[in-house]
Symmetry: C2
Subunit: 190 residues, 2 copies
Amino acid sequence: MEGRAVVVREGERFRVVDLEGQQVGDLFAFVADDVREYASAEHTRVALSRLFPRPGESFLTNRRRPILRFEEDASPGRHDMLCAACDPTRYASLGVVGPHASCQENLLAAMAGLGHAGVDVPQPINLFMSIPVGADGTLGWETAPTAPGDSVTLRAELDAIVVLSACPQDLNPINGPGPTALAVELLDRP
Amino acid sequence: MEGRAVVVREGERFRVVDLEGQQVGDLFAFVADDVREYASAEHTRVALSRLFPRPGESFLTNRRRPILRFEEDASPGRHDMLCAACDPTRYASLGVVGPHASCQENLLAAMAGLGHAGVDVPQPINLFMSIPVGADGTLGWETAPTAPGDSVTLRAELDAIVVLSACPQDLNPINGPGPTALAVELLDRP
């Protein structure tokens, strides 16, 4: 399971497609000309007074500027911004011995490939990830409810580097029977 | 309204006291010998499957190590780790013209005073802050329910730099009639 980085210009749209269903995608967005500014869950929540934007609303950066607009949700509408990206330490804590792909390493590798080594690892926009919040503050870990072909469409509001990692988590139920592939489609390019 | 930084050694406890009641405190904790590691809301949530630790549970760092143990809660038990620290951009968006104290600037000034300029600004541990999460994912902004003298006690699990900012927010109801002072008491020092 890998991550991919694409540069998306202001005004361009892209679609993230869950090709086989039941697959979480960890999405990150950095400002292209200063990667210290990036989509921030906690600044987005404050601006919207919501855990996650609705279509028509925007994700804000850590400098409170809109970076991605949530254009369309052609999925069951379950997404998460509460759970950190998986990383080697997380897999070790779940009993994995030896290497295991992770969203954090996918992010770092994809950004390094564009010349941005050692970026901050923000809280991801966890597309299709179903983490119900109980009245007592407990978090559930459900399987992504997506069917094959479900998608979300986003539009860049700044020139951005967007990274998507198909989450390789296979030690809890979030990806159903096992990780599968996602696609990123750039909608405004010939 | 100011922020203060204190170095707390592994095993030492400290108490944060809301002296007059209805006051939010933004708490941050950095590993003393490497401030790139700090208490992380998203890593804590994953480890505990909860929005906020209960007494007896620990806050984890962005490297998933326990840094603060939540020892005792002598308050109504409402705390938040969803909302970013207030900053100048936030106050500008609320209509403030000119300077306004903020938790982010308090943090940066306190850390710079210890020789750590330009640290990352983590999601704070917002003590006494009451942000109810609705079943539809909406966030409420309630007044801190604390009475004068309410407190929480924490214990360092690593040598840590702890920063507390009495939140100067006066444009929404979180601090009741207006910001007031907090105290930090180091419990294991003569």
